[in-house]
Amino acid sequence: MNMHKDNMTNGKNTNLIDDNVISDPVMEQQIAHGISDLLKNRAQHLSPEQEQRLSAARNAAVSYLVEQQAQYNTGNQIAGNGHVLRWFDHLGQNFEQHRVASAALLVVVMLLTFFALQQFGTTHNLENSDAFLLASDLPPEAYADKGFDAWIESN
């Protein structure tokens, strides 16, 4: 309770409470009890109109509290999921900001893939290349000489 002066209206009486008094926890508790007792005493003599206004005020306060609580929960949920969303958003923004860099990166990746595939193809076809035919156990003439085939069959 941070007030310089608290005017407590009790009918026609006005009690002034200074800061020193209210900062004392024991005294504060006593004051609270006093207020509570006063409210209880007065509550016995409320008119139907006052009761209705108090009830409406209470309902409004509770509704406001429920609404605040719901907003707080939703906000927390969004904030939880938002980490991933924000991450993607951030990534997208980065690509957007560095168009040239991302295009260059893409080209580099494509070139590396191209050369890797070419290298793989070269290695794969190495044993089938003409160089290895020339270095084979038999000279190339042996493979191309149809007379040799005929001679083998006849022998």
Partner: protein, 147 residues
């Protein structure tokens, strides 16, 4: 803006592909003097006739020069020794040789040894007899378009 970026990427890819294709085509059109030192060393047996070879013949020979460093010294010696005869074979004969070589590679070791021995025996036959055998043999592959 995205379309422009996508177009730019495709243009770059096409450009690099065209450059690669053009580089290969240019290589096959190189004269003997335009070859690299390492290519000339491998293809030395063909030095005198290189400039008379057609682009597709040069391309095949350049493939041999490319694979040459990957071979053992013994195999490299065989390649150099056999290169001249190989360059003088017709495309049809070379294609036959490639197919026969594939079949030969699939044979078991003892069969390979037997064939090597038979080739040596065949070489000892008189040339006239070998010519007669060739003349009597039907074409293994009927695709004369390769000639």
């Amino acid at each position: 803006m995205d379309r422009i970026q996508l177009g730019l990427r495709w243009a770059l890819l096409t450009f690099f592909l065209l450059v690669t294709v053009a580089a290969n085509a240019d290589e096959a059109n190189q004269t003997w003097g335009q070859l690299t030192e390492s290519q000339r060393q491998v293809l030395n047996p063909l030095a005198s006739e290189w400039d008379t070879l057609r682009p597709w013949q040069r391309e095949k020979m350049l493939d041999i020069a490319r694979d040459y460093p990957k071979m053992s010294p013994e195999k490299q010696g065989l390649v150099k020794k056999r290169l001249t005869n190989w360059s003088r074979m017709t495309p049809y004969e070379r294609e036959n040789a490639r197919k026969r070589h594939q079949q030969f590679k699939a044979l078991p070791d003892d069969k390979k040894r037997e064939l090597r021995q038979k080739w040596n025996e065949y070489q000892k036959l008189p040339e006239s007899e070998r010519t007669k055998l060739r003349a009597e043999s039907p074409e293994t592959y009927g695709d004369s378009s390769l000639d």
